[in-house]
Subunit: 237 residues, 2 copies
């Protein structure tokens, strides 16, 4: 029996990818339930994961049912060497991961500003407006915050977002940069020069042996137009 | 010197109110910095709270700077008797509080679906559409989830969302119901009959001595049209 079971949609990276990266980088024994048995996710939300899960991703660890992306990555990170050791660092990693989750929510709403129940094509006008504000104001604001974190802590020499080692917050930052490179390549290219430490962090994470191996494997799904990060050229002017 | 300092905007309940309720219910020694010195919040974000805080609320506990609403309430709750004692309960309280935070984000976007930089009046059409989806689909979905949590756990007899005692998740549920009663009284009244356990939880929290005393005090700001929960009759049909 595997140590961990991840419940998430099998067709997209989505929020589940933040969990997959931690599981992979820590070299943990896990099963990606949705990839093995796509029909089980919807059933699980009304069955074996109820009533605790409002949505996936959910991690099962033995008898524990853990919903919510940041709750899962924090749980895994603190148990498997991907979180700072001290209390201040742990609190900072948690807050940074939550802020990245807020950024991910805003990315989602660039293509779904009105309703998650409707397709993008039915909310294009509002999406164009919301995406403009995201590109010009919100994205630079969030990424500037991450850049400042990397410049601050003398003990880490700008290498880690929190504490003195790689944490789930750094893995989350990697994933959000990858997603933005896919969804908003033009807008990101315009500001990347102002984010040298963040871009260097992205590169260092990509080179970590287990992450590099994962990214090259069929377990890493490609970005696509069903996920949270979607590339609509008209939203990336 | 007070044990805790809360940094939040002084004019609104907003996300800071989730922290205030925990501080008040636990009877903690704290200063609401913004209420004492309104000019200090903006300055603090660029000064004493940098680089850790992307936004307020932020809690300062001695040398610790703790941003993000749920990170703060979890920190306080686990230290001061407002969290379950066991690991499963703590993970569930954390996930429930994060899901309530997601609900709060969606409430915010009913009146600001396009841009936080612009006033509601400049995004009324999109707001009308988003608010309809919120009233008809999202709000019942989130509140139904909370209701099912209360019905599930035999040990708590439906009294608590997680574990066997009142937690910061229960206080958050109280606050979100209060907010929805202010912002969407008609829409909430339509579904309240399907949420008997959640409404009873709201009443029990309101009657807790320290909460009742806080709600009757000038420390409890009234809801208003600058906060997250706003009442626009045209959005509450």
């Amino acid at each position: 029996m595997p140590r961990y079971e991840l419940f998430y949609w099998p067709e997209i990276q989505g929020r589940g990818e933040f969990v997959r990266l931690v599981l992979e980088d820590a070299g943990l024994d896990y099963v990606d339930i949705g990839r093995k048995d796509p029909d089980r996710i919807e059933a699980a939300l009304e069955g074996e994961l109820a009533p605790w899960a409002f949505a996936v991703p959910v991690l099962r660890a033995g008898d524990l049912v853990i919903p919510q992306t940041v709750a899962i990555t924090r749980y895994l990170g603190e148990r498997h060497g991907l979180a700072p050791a001290d209390e201040a660092g742990r609190l900072h990693a948690h807050a940074i991961a939550l802020t990245i989750a807020d950024l991910v929510n805003e990315v989602h709403d660039t293509h779904h500003p009105i309703s998650v129940m409707d397709v993008y094509e039915k909310q294009r006008e509002a999406a164009a407006q919301r995406a403009r504000v995201f590109r010009e104001v919100r994205m630079p604001m969030f990424l500037g915050y991450l850049e400042r974190l990397l410049g601050h802590d003398r003990t880490s020499d700008g290498r880690f977002l929190a504490g003195d080692r790689v944490s789930y917050a750094d893995l989350a930052a990697f994933q959000v940069i990858e997603g933005l490179r896919y969804a908003f390549p033009r807008a990101l290219a315009r500001i990347a020069g102002d984010l040298p430490k963040l871009m260097a962090l992205r590169d260092r994470i990509a080179e970590r042996p287990r992450i590099a191996s994962y990214l090259a494997s069929p377990r890493r799904l490609p970005f696509n137009q069903s996920g949270i990060f979607r590339h609509y050229p008209e939203l990336d002017r």
